[in-house]
Structures are given as structure tokens and as C-alpha cells.
């Protein structure tokens, strides 16, 4: 009998990442990501007009950009496995479900990381034109990547709920939208005046914007990173539970 492999997580991660680049998906995603980032930053964000050497307009759009881009990668994570039946192959191999869930998530997260890294020309531009605080920018990049992970983790769970990727996409966008606006004044102002401040604060604390705002200003607070990490872990755990329950259909 052969030895049990302990690095199945890595094997699944590599297969998934390879899968993205074997189809046009990865390239289309990266190109569209870069183009929209460029438009948002330079046109809508008033990068030049602001006259400041920072990447605030760039990062400020990320919560809204991810809202549509990230669910597009996440939607196929498990829905496709169910649709083609490969889930039965994967889960009857000597692989733990946790390895499969995490491996697939990490591959998708790596893809968003690659796309994010490829926005470096914007960072170079800022450095060429002025003298930005590069520490702030690095912190913002890390924060933005963690936020993308949170979107993906929701997507992983929604993708596990259905064998139809389009439904998974719509569900993911809706839930992500909820978490984006949770911390925004639009929703917070809707609370009646008599609501205890603690509840409003707790509600706001669950939203993405609350945590991302400080990150994008360069304050990489360990609590914000922890928030996104716990958020990701919780949704991945939910993914595993949903997969386990829905395997039968």
C-alpha cells in the first residue's frame, strides 16, 4: 500500500490554478480587472485632478469592483464539480474535504492576487509623479487582497449550494452587496433613532467598508486582518458543511 499523501492541499491548489490558466478564464479575468481598475482610478477616481500622490482612488473602488469580478471566479468553484460529476471523483480520492475546500479557495484567491499584483503600473505611475507613502500602499494591497478573499469565501459557499453557476453568481453578488453596504452610511442611517448605538456599531463592524476604509488609508490594523481571516474561515466552514449536506442530490 502506498503512503498517504500529506500535501493533498497543494496538489489540489496546483490543479485548480492550472485549470484557470488552461482556459481563457484567467486571462479574461485579469485583462478586464486591469482595464476596469484603470478606468476607475484615472477617469472616475480623478487620480490626476486630486493632485495627491497616493492610491486612494484606486483602492476606494475595490469593494465595488470585487462585487462583480470576484463572484465571477467563485461561481464555478463547486457548482461545476457538481454539474460534471467530478465532485464524486474528487471526494472518493483519499483527500480530506477540508483540503479540497481550502485548495480550491486558495487557487481562486491566488488568481485574484495575481490580478492585483499586475496593477503595479498604477503604483509605478504614482511613484513617478510624486512621492507616495509606499508603506501605506503595501498595506492597502494586503488589505484589498484579504477583502477579495472574503468575497471569494462567500462565493465558495454559494457555489456549493447549487449546481447552476449563474444562480451561484447572483447569490454571491447579493450577499457580498449586503456586507459591503453594512458599514456604509446608506444603511446605518436607516436605523431608527432609538436603536442603541451598540447595535448600530456592531452592525457596522460586520461590514466590509468599515474594515477596508482604514486599511485603504494605510492603517493595517491586526483587528481588520483578523476580521477578514475569521470571515473567510467561517464561510469556508459553511462551504464544507453545505457540500457534505448537498452531496446526495
Amino acid at each position: 500500500m502506498q503512503k498517504l499523501s500529506l500535501n493533498n492541499l497543494g496538489i489540489i491548489f496546483r490543479r485548480e490554478l492550472m485549470g484557470y490558466f488552461a482556459t481563457p478564464l484567467a486571462y479574461v479575468f485579469i485583462v478586464i480587472f486591469l482595464i476596469t481598475n484603470g478606468i476607475f482610478t484615472f477617469e472616475l477616481g480623478g487620480f490626476y485632478a486630486r493632485g495627491q500622490a497616493d492610491l486612494l482612488p484606486f483602492f476606494g473602488f475595490h469593494p465595488w469592483l470585487y462585487l462583480f469580478m470576484v463572484p465571477a471566479i467563485a461561481m464555478a468553484l463547486w457548482a461545476d464539480e457538481r454539474k460534471t460529476g467530478t465532485i464524486e471523483l474528487l471526494l472518493t480520492l483519499p483527500v480530506r474535504l477540508a483540503d479540497a475546500v481550502l485548495g480550491k479557495f486558495l487557487a481562486a484567491w491566488a488568481l485574484t492576487g495575481i490580478a492585483l499584483l499586475l496593477t503595479f503600473p498604477i503604483w509605478i505611475t504614482a511613484n513617478y509623479l510624486g512621492d507616495p507613502d509606499n508603506g501605506v500602499i503595501v498595506a492597502s494591497y494586503i488589505g484589498s487582497w484579504f477583502m477579495a478573499g472574503a468575497y471569494l469565501a462567500i462565493g465558495s459557499c454559494m457555489s456549493a449550494c447549487t449546481r447552476n453557476p449563474v444562480i451561484a453568481f447572483i447569490l454571491t453578488v447579493s450577499i457580498c452587496f449586503l456586507f459591503v453596504i453594512m458599514g456604509s452610511p446608506i444603511l446605518l442611517n436607516a436605523f431608527p433613532d432609538w436603536t442603541p448605538q451598540a447595535i448600530v456599531d456592531a452592525f457596522a463592524a460586520l461590514g466590509f467598508l468599515t474594515h477596508f476604509d482604514s486599511i485603504s488609508k494605510g492603517v493595517l490594523d491586526i483587528r481588520d486582518v483578523l476580521y477578514f481571516s475569521v470571515f473567510i474561515a467561517a464561510w469556508l466552514l459553511a462551504s464544507a458543511i453545505v457540500i457534505e449536506i448537498k452531496k446526495a442530490n
Binding site: I11, A22, G85, L89, T92, R96
Partner: protein, 312 residues
């Protein structure tokens, strides 16, 4: 050895597998038969650890599939229904992925991949993406991944579905060769396949075992076992002629060809007795041959009975 003890699997209120118990030993090729929806695939999904049982247990060589899933799964090679594979990979990439997951590295992995690609004749499509392959090739890729680690237990859900007659023959040959020191469970709805490759057959219906035995034993349960078929050239009251002969259970006339009769045996071979009678009494016989019991007859009898029992 695979041991299945009081296995039950429910989907909501529907009982797909109902208190199933059996064992399969090394060297056995078990044909798993049953009408569509009888619970064949569900049983296989539980044995391979894809679905958890609602009640009961499955152990592979002593490893409980629920308690020690990784150890048990390492012993199993499984071809799921429809032979799903990752379509975006080439045959070689896919088999390398499986080899790595199965714990093989470097030269060992390449040697095994080359071996199984030879076994199921995949060399010509090694660098083609799986989604562009024909149904027969896809099925063989699925088989290749199942046998790559030389598994102790091989579970194949309809392995020859969608193959042409030559490929079917090839796969059966492969299963026979693999079977020597392995446990093989093959589900199929092609009954001739059972006679061709299996040393034992289990027929299930509505989640329960309705027949279990060697193909020969099952065939012997057919009412047509040892029967003699006769085609007459002229008029004769065959039923009347044979009335009172102890070895004979009855005579059936063919509904379409009125000159053809099937003489049913009461249990023992009757060919000699019937041919003796035919000579003595000068029957106008045109054709005369022994019929073997057909698995198909038994299959129909046991699965139809279960249906009526349920309705009653």
C-alpha cells in the same frame, strides 16, 4: 475483503438501499445487477465513501469507510457513473494529478501512468484535453485513473457503458486480468457481461438483495433451465404426448411461431429422455436443442416479483 453490514441509505423519505448485507472477497468479481433505480449506484457511492450511510457500516480490509475514510479510500479504485473527469486537463495531466494524489512521485508515477495508458490504450490521446475526447476514450480515462494505484478493491459503475463491442471486450479482458488478487464490484445492466466476467452476481431491487449466487447458479433458477426447444415439421399434440412424463414440468407453445415448443424440465436434464421419446414415437422433428437458463429470465422473475410484493 469488503464487508457491508445492514446498510441503509435514505434520501428524505425514499429508501434507496434497505438493510443490505454482503461480503466480497479477494479474487471475486461481483456483478451488481438491478433495474434502474434499484439502488446500485447509491450502494457504490456509499461503499466508496462519497455518501454517508443512514445506518449500517462498510469496511474495506477492516477500515471503516466512515471512521477511517482516508485509509479505506486509499485501497479503492472507483469509476463513478458516467466516468467524470476534469475536462480542461489533458489525459496525461489528469493522470499525473491522480498519481500525485495517490502518493506517487517522479519515476514511479510516470511508470504507473505509462502502464495504465498502455492497459486501456490511451497513448494516442495523451496530450488531448479530456473534453475533446470521444465517449469511449473518456470512459477509458476514467478506468485508467481507477486502476492507477493497483487498488485492492475496484468499484466500477457501468464500466462498459458507451463502448463499442471491441472496446467492451477489451475492458472485460482487463477486468478479468485485474481480478486475480483483487475485489472487483461491477455494476451493469448488460447481463451477458455478468456471464462473461463475473464469478458471482447479486441482483438487487428496491434496495434489497433478491438473488445472490454464481452466474451458473442463478441461471439454474430460470424456469427454462435444461429446457428443450423443439420445432416440428408437421402437426402433433406435443403437450398430450408428454403428459404424465415425470421429468417434464410442462410444454409452452411459441406465440408467434406455432410450430415451436419449449419443453420445461422439472429440474434435471431432460434432453436424453425427450430425444428418446421423439425417436420412439416418430415425431416430425425439424430442430431440436437444449436451452440454457438465461440470466435475463431470472432477472425478470426476481425483480418483477419484488415489484408485485411491494404493491400488495
Amino acid at each position: 475483503m469488503i464487508e457491508i453490514r445492514n446498510l441503509t441509505r435514505k434520501f428524505d423519505q425514499v429508501v434507496a438501499v434497505d438493510d443490505l448485507s454482503f461480503e466480497v472477497r479477494e479474487g471475486e468479481v461481483l456483478g451488481f445487477l438491478g433495474p434502474n433505480g434499484a439502488g446500485k449506484s447509491t450502494t457504490m457511492k456509499v461503499i466508496t465513501g462519497f455518501l454517508a450511510p443512514s445506518a449500517g457500516s462498510v469496511t474495506i480490509d477492516g477500515f471503516d469507510i466512515g471512521g477511517k475514510p482516508l485509509e479505506a479510500k486509499a485501497l479503492i479504485g472507483y469509476l463513478p457513473e458516467g466516468a467524470p473527469c476534469y475536462g480542461d486537463m489533458t489525459t496525461l495531466q489528469f493522470l499525473r494529478f491522480i498519481a500525485r494524489i495517490r502518493g506517487f512521485r517522479g519515476e514511479e508515477a510516470e511508470r504507473r501512468i505509462a502502464g495504465v495508458m498502455g492497459d486501456v490504450a490511451l497513448e494516442s490521446v495523451a496530450h488531448q484535453t479530456i473534453e475533446t475526447l470521444s465517449k469511449g476514450f473518456k470512459r477509458r480515462v476514467g478506468l485508467a485513473q481507477a486502476i492507477l494505484h493497483d487498488p485492492k478493491a475496484l468499484i466500477l459503475d457501468e464500466p462498459t457503458d458507451g463502448l463499442d463491442p471491441n472496446q467492451k471486450n477489451h475492458v472485460r479482458e482487463l477486468i478479468r486480468n485485474l481480478a486475480k488478487d483483487k475485489i472487483v464490484v461491477v455494476s451493469t445492466h448488460i447481463l451477458e457481461e455478468v456471464t462473461a466476467v463475473c464469478t458471482r452476481a447479486i441482483i438487487i431491487d428496491e434496495g434489497r438483495i433478491v438473488a445472490d449466487g454464481t452466474p451458473a447458479e442463478l441461471e439454474a433458477r430460470s424456469r427454462y433451465h435444461h429446457a428443450v426447444e423443439v420445432r416440428l415439421a408437421g402437426e402433433l399434440d406435443l403437450a398430450g404426448e408428454l403428459e404424465g412424463v415425470a421429468e417434464i414440468a410442462g410444454v409452452e407453445q411459441d406465440r408467434l411461431d406455432r410450430a415451436s415448443f419449449t419443453i420445461l424440465s422439472a429440474g434435471k436434464p431432460i434432453f436424453a429422455r425427450v430425444s428418446e421419446l421423439a425417436q420412439q414415437r416418430q415425431w416430425p422433428v425439424e430442430e431440436f436443442h437444449v436451452r440454457r437458463g438465461q440470466l435475463e429470465d431470472v432477472f425478470r422473475t426476481v425483480t418483477e416479483n419484488a415489484g408485485t410484493r411491494e404493491a400488495a
